[in-house]
């Protein structure tokens, strides 16, 4: 009952509403020691305090009233508002490719959730069409909500469910797949799908937005258009991430999801390919290839589905002075795989050696990746590296730490034989380890350097 009429209110605020018989969505006049107020009582976000009542005043603004100042309240009307995203039929045009959009909980189109004050996604083709009508010019759209979780809550069961759903759609005959995904763990899901859905005949594109679609400057509509273009019309049949290339509304980049990383907490062009160039760029006019070698689109419907995942893998980010009990406790807790994120070329301190030996003896699979993100693990240069290798830690080349974590989980989901795990880990499925790092695979411009600032002023948008 409280939920229905007093949505989100608790404690003192709830008492006051009850005392004066005023409901959420009721129009109320409120007398307070700070003067009189008039407006519609709104639901309260459950994380906000219990000392205020929120009303929407006539001018459209929301304000909060301190319940301790309220001396009287009177409900003068009631007008429940149901937020609804418009829905128009998504037109089907002959000759356009069919793209399947999987929803996982990202915010492509969204509405307000009064409970948390955050936004919740809209998803049906009709809703999407009414928000981004341009989509109808790109493809015929089908959607399916696989699950609705925030990006940070994605995990093994979701990867597996998604992989199976994708394989099914490929067999069914769609021309491309787009997955709406929160950006925080997009690279994890991308890596998982690369390993689980191997050699797909069509593009599989992960897309999201850095600004939710309830904002006029949202990157969601253009990202979606780019993803649909790449999935429906592009020739690259790989699992890729499609997000803004720069902060401007100009072009998107297609990144291999084994080499991509989110590099800024809020920037639009947050995703960068690490240690290589992106596969291609994309605008609404089409895909422009950057890398010459890629897996082209095929007519067949063959796909290798390997939906395995062990939840007994963990990561250890090395820090100076780390104590061996960190490793010991992980081993004792039953973890079967550890991905180290080491310093420099792949180093850990001597103090850890006994713990590593112990883990190795217990059959824990240990792999080394880098905090530097760019570059290769090279454990022969210094004695430390050789020591660590001798104790069973296997270098992962230039595999990104998160990718190594996902891959080890996937490998251990299939086998615990050390040699087989090692083979799986070190045999790249889609460039998670590359043989070469091109010169332009490492580009981190340093602002303030005159020629860089000149480039920023003249060229980059």
């Amino acid at each position: 009952m409280d939920n229905e009429f007093f949505q989100g209110y608790r404690g003192q605020a709830l008492e006051v509403l009850k005392q004066y018989n005023v409901r959420v969505w009721g129009k109320a006049t409120i007398t307070t020691t700070r003067g009189n107020f008039e407006g519609t009582v709104l639901p309260r976000s459950c994380n906000d305090d219990e000392k205020h009542i929120v009303i929407k005043i006539e001018s459209g603004y929301n304000i909060g009233i301190d319940v301790e100042t309220i001396t009287n309240m009177k409900e003068t009307g009631y007008n429940k508002v149901n937020f609804k995203i418009q829905e128009k039929d998504f037109p089907s045009v002959q000759g356009l490719p069919t793209v399947k959009l999987f929803g996982t909980g990202g915010t492509i189109a969204s509405r307000l959730d009064y409970r948390t004050g955050a936004v919740i996604p809209a998803f049906s083709p009709g809703e999407l069409y009414s928000a981004v009508p341009e989509l109808a010019e790109i493809c015929n759209l089908e959607t399916e909500k696989v699950f609705a979780v925030f990006s940070e809550n994605m995990g093994p069961t979701h990867y597996i469910a998604l992989a199976k759903a994708i394989a099914k759609e490929i067999e069914r005959g769609v021309d491309g797949i787009v997955i709406g995904h929160g950006t925080d763990t997009m690279q994890h899901t991308g890596a998982a799908l690369t390993f689980m859905v191997q050699n797909p005949p069509i593009p599989i594109i992960l897309v999201g937005s850095q600004r939710s679609s309830d904002r006029p400057s949202s990157d969601a509509p253009l990202n979606l258009m780019h993803a649909m273009t790449a999935a429906g019309h592009g020739d690259i049949a790989e699992v890729m991430v499609c997000m803004y290339g720069t902060t401007s509304d100009e072009y998107g980049l297609l990144h291999k999801s084994t080499r991509v990383r989110k590099m800024h907490s809020s920037y639009r062009s947050t995703f960068r390919t690490i240690g290589d160039t992106p596969v291609a760029s994309v605008t609404r006019d089409g895909v422009t290839h950057i890398k010459e070698n890629y897996n082209p689109r095929r007519k067949d419907r063959k796909v290798k589905l390997l939906p395995y995942f062990s939840d007994k893998v963990t990561m250890v980010y090395y820090y100076t002075g780390i104590k061996p009990d960190v490793i010991d406790s992980l081993v004792d807790a039953g973890y079967k795989g550890i991905v180290f994120v080491g310093t420099g070329l792949g180093h850990l301190n001597k103090e850890l050696y006994p713990a590593i030996e112990r883990a190795h003896a217990k059959g824990v699979h240990m792999y080394m990746t880098l905090q530097t993100l760019w570059g290769y693990v090279q454990m022969f240069v210094y004695d430390t590296g050789r020591d660590i290798m001798a104790k069973g830690v296997i270098p992962c080349g230039n595999m990104l730490p998160e990718v190594a974590f996902i891959k080890l989980s996937w490998a251990l989901g299939q086998t615990e034989d050390p040699e087989e795990v090692k083979r799986l880990m070190l045999t790249p499925i889609n460039d998670e380890i590359t043989e070469r790092e091109p010169y332009n695979g490492y580009v981190l411009l340093q602002g303030g350097v005159p020629e860089v600032d000149d480039f920023l002023a003249k060229t980059r948008k």
Partner: protein
Amino acid sequence: MKKNFDPRKNYEATKVKVGYVNRKDATQTLYDKMGFMSGLEVHQQLKTKKKLFCNCPAGIYNDNSHFDAEVIRHMRPTLSELGEYDGTALMEFKTKKTIVYKLKNETTCTYEIDDTPPFPIDREALDIAIEIAFLSKLNTVGEVHITRKQYLDGSIPAGSQRTAIIGVDGEIPISNKKIRLVQLCLEEDTCREISNIGHTRVFKTDRFGMPLIETVTHPDMVNPDEVKEACDYIRFLNRSTNKVRIGIGSGRQDVNVSCKGGNRVEIKGVSKTKLLPELTHNECFRQWALIHIKDILTKRINVKSWKISTKKLNFFDYNFSYSPAIEANNRKDKFYAVNLPEFKGILSHFTQPGKCFINELSDRLKVIACIEKPNMITSEDIENTEDRKIFTKIASMFNAGENDAQIIFWAPKEDIDTAISTISERCKLAFFEVPKETRKYNLDGTTEFKRVLPGANRMYPDTDSPPIPLASEHLKNIQANLPSDVSERTAQMIKWNIPKDTFTYLHVNNLFPLINKIANELAYEPKFIACFLGHQLKHIEGQFNARKLDYNKIYQIFEFIKKRKLDKEIAFKILPVLFEHPQMDFDSILESINFRKHNNNGIISNISFLKNKYNEIGKTKTDEARNNWVMGQLNNIAVGNISMNELKNIVKGV
């Protein structure tokens, strides 16, 4: 008569019919008859160190000569909290503008370009806004909720402005009544426009994010003078805190006007209050004229059967001589003719001084279809544009009726459809109402279309910012330190016999506290100080390009005079030197104006000698001429030592 239709004469005749008079000839009876109604939204920048939602410095402005980077955005309408699209939002999406932001590192971080969520609100700004809310007798809220207000014109890179209500339902007094206040908001200031040509609009982000308050009045003003008076009062009230920015652009107002049967029209961003009376006067008459137009049209034809026809023209079939048309053809613009049934006499119908209904169409073509002006010629142009013979040909091509009117417009191919629907829509609106719109002001007191007036549907709670509770204890502290009311200050100034011509200057610069302080602590007459400031200081500022002096220095002048037991009039001589050399100490200033300390007797002892001298050399043999000459001779040694009035009496008596 029909054959020789003269648009100019029609314009003049309709101006008379509408009853347009100049503002100085307009009476309250006339305004009452038209139902003049106006309300204000007064914007004022706050003097804070930082911007409202990020840590960039506030108050630094960049010129257009160099930028460090640029960002491109397109704005797309989104659903409001209540699930609807806003009218303006949709219109602006239709215009398909590319927005370019020019960035300077000095004034811009990733927040301004909407690549970083907001930081917690600037507390300094919040407290100033609360202080002004109290002064405006508003009821302060218990909890501040940040709202995102959609603006798709590009003036805000995020497409929505963060704004929050601080107080509601207040009032301010003007000379004859009280003006009710709706609310006061604290919001981030917008970007400054660099250019807006065709489909590209360029902004810079230096000003964006600076704290700004908006005081909104009810439409309680019933004539243009009241609008100015209310606006001045709010402006003075803001200034009385000493915590707001001054200078060009730091205070701007939007003024809403309607007449009986009209609609709310907002004139945006008026930076000088003295323009308000003329603008509101003319807007009231523009609406009054549009109602006349509506009456004419509805008598002539039923809107249901009214429809425009259009035809594409081949430029070379017509002997165009109007140079903008020729230039348009050189740009490869397409030419279209439009026939407007029964619109004869409407196109050239008066709307504003020097403007007619054609401007309503042409302005919208510029804004909505992005076609630069001049973008059309018509069969009723008031100014000579094109040979009328062209329109005879066009009319016969359409098989047009005697009462029809015609337009020829030009535009790039891709803008033609929007242009045609814009003309059609605006003409159809003429049958029904005065369109609700936002208008841009011109210095001559006229206005032009800026955009459709936005509604309440563009509000969205800012999910990035938690609500901010305002504790009663904190509010009490602010309330305990409020400056005195502007109305009380005015009353006190009248009591002090201060000349009224100084009031605006004294309020604008918040000099009342200084007068009060000098009068109380140094015992100088308030009237003397007020004139010293309102006449002498103002005059000198004018000579120094409106440069401002640190007002503490004024206090120090009088403190110095008092200490040295000089006569107060020496201040008039000290001030210009101080203005030129603000760092010079007062003794050096006295030196530089050749001041010498003399006792009164020493000065007086010169009088009889001087009088005799004048009798010898003076041409006009009157007492007055002689005394004036003597005073002039004594000026240098007397000022600062003896009151000149006192000396004058002594001269008379000797």
